[in-house]
Amino acid sequence: MPELLQIEHIRKTFPGVIALDDVSFTVATGEIHTILGENGAGKSTLMNVLTGLYHPDSGKMCLDGTEVHFTSPRDSLACGIGMVHQHFMLVPAHSVFENILLALDKVPLLYNRKQYQQKIQKIIDTFELDLDLDTEVWKLSIGAQQWIELIKLLLRDCRLLILDEPTAVLTPQETDRLFRVLRLLQEQGKSIIFISHKMREVVEISDRVTVLKKGRSISTLDRGSFDREILAGLMIGQDKIPEWQKNLQMSENIVLDIRNLSVRNDRGLADLDQVSLQLKEGEILGIAGIAGNGQKALAEALTGLKPVTRGKIFAGEVDITHSTARSSYISGIAHIPEDRKSIGIAPDLDVADNLIMKSYKNPLFRRGFFQNRGAIRRNAEDKVSRFAIKTGPDGSPVRYLSGGNIQKVIIARELSENPRVLVALYPTRGLDIGSAEYIHKVIVEGAGRGMSTILIAEDLDELLKLSDRIAVMFRGRIIGYADPRRTTREEIGLMMSGERQDQAS
């Protein structure tokens, strides 16, 4: 296969940080090439270099054998390199057609609507995408929104598509469809750079895999010469992913008792519809479901962020149905929020201040009205070393930390007071294997100490690996339970799409 893109010894530094040290790899025409690496390994920086957002300090980038210098994303697009970002760039209130049109260059003032529609429709038909041009974007599923981003790039005749963790937001079924489309694109001679953390997918789809570690490309493997263990080993320097021992002798103590819980959203519709569930001491209860089927409402109701419309929540004997986040926390419920950056941290404050965000009123950290800065600093030093958080220079804002380290800050804070219940929403989303493993370890070790966890996740492998029991949610209800020792991914996938199929309870 002829090489389309050649990257040679790219280096990019930021003040005080070497983001990319020495990265070299090539992408052939019609190849699906995966870039694999932990958070902070330099994947995002590399993609930003490829798309012209950053300028490398040194190194060469060749397209079709000619050296190129991009000064902006416009340049890279003009050369046929396009990217689907993790966060979509769409206008929710506008129709699919309008959104696509917006992304096109040189649309004349008076354009021929029909001609453009036909062009787009042709792409939709070729790839058998299920997309109606006149629907407003907000009505579409995340998967369908992703198609729009892809179509935008195809209309611009991109030859190299970069997909940044495209499956992070998709259900297993949607992922399968995406892969079918990627293979079709491959047949048409398009090259694809695929970024993902999910080993199963990487192994399934990639022609070649380049592993990034600490800003260096440490190796490139061809299809057939890699499997999950080998890749994970290269990434985290460990040969085998440890299997956790499930907690088989669970206590019969009920720590959390949810009875007929209903929550309505801002539009008055039921986000949570008569959900009952019981959590035993030391149990890890996995909750599976396609995003938007009530998992978030459940977590918010449990942590006091959303008012309960009907029903009751008991923590042990205490009724915590109507309480703010503060008193819930005191009752022993810790919470790892879904969107760590937008609600988990105060981005402008430093690590020390973020670590005490929930316990700042604790006598340990204050002397009367004054904060005990010494104790706060010591607490930070202790947590940073215990949870292996990589921080910047003292006092630098948390927003400069990588996603994995931000998550560690949140977990260090949430688990610091030995909570009885942990409500974790997508705790490993977007994290590299190393950080994800670490978080799994924390949850399982917590269970050993008697902490119960409600684990809401989209990665079925993760749920199957950690959970003692899996509840599947569909349209605000628990549609059934599955026993992780006996069930399969397919079975849970079917339940997620609404097929009722009780197995165990």
């Binding site: 003040p15 986040a325 404050l349 965000m357 700042y360 009205f369 904060q371």
Partner: protein, 356 residues
Amino acid sequence: MKLVIERRDTSSTLMRFAAPVASIFVALAFAGFLLLAAGINPLEAYREILIEAVGSTYGLSETLVKATPLILAGLGVSIAFRMQIWNIGAEGQIYIGAMGATWVALFSGLENHWMLMITMFSAAFICGGLWAGVAGFLRARWSVNEVIVTLLMNYIAILLVDYLVYGPWRDPQGFNFPLTAQFADAARFASFFDTRLHSGFFLALVFALLLYLFMERTVWGYQIKVIGSNPQAARYAGMRTGQAVFWVLFLSGAIAGVAGFSEVAGLQYRLQHGLSPGYGYTAIIIAWLARRSAIGVVIVSLLMGILLVGGDSLQMLWQLPIAFVYAFQGLILFFLLGSDFFIQYRLKLIRGIRHG
């Protein structure tokens, strides 16, 4: 070759100090052209401004006098800014604070100096606080935009004071001027060195120190920082953001109210029409330029004081119209705000060879 704008990954410390200084010089250069056009040697004029504003006891004291209400109001505005609350109403809060202090001075019947000082201070503090607290309550309860409420309440405050000084509180011996009777000596600040410099300036410095400690060392300051950085995270951590919004606006208005107290007790000795020539609005710019830090507020206020006093002398010496002084101030602010850009971004020249 191509010039591109690049966001700095961390704001440069050097730039944070160098940019404002450089921008002042650029503004001086620009204003120099205006002076030249008016037939005045700019260097001479600048020397004059400096001498007038800091080169003599009188000039220096006047600069500090002008800086006093600016420091207090600036501190008030900046504490709300820390929580991403925009208090545009310091002007009105100054008036209402002055009104409260005046009521105590004229009608409370107190005669002891310290009793009067403490009561006048408290009255100004509470009046200014409650005035801004209205906006805080509306914001916390019904998410009413505090910018609009605080801004519109300025008009109410100024007209309310006008009503009092034109009407019920007017000095019978005042020849029908819109002002109240003069305060008794016991209701006045001490003044120093035979100048107009009064205790209010030191009160302002004490407030700057207190506010610094409040923000950096206390549990409440911590809450304000968390809420300001990310209100959602604060809610998630169990902080009562609504209450905090009210109290921060209360405090913000209260400190601006103290500025009003300092003006009537230290300088004007009475309540009068137009007692603040827009200090409350300048305070917004000060708080912004000071990047919300208490020490920064003091420094920027002193700079503003120099501009105000020096500008006066330009008027007197060269018969420059007042409009020139405003233009001059405007230029400085314009370049100062513009320099913000260089703290967060940098310009970079790159060779742009494109293929494809």
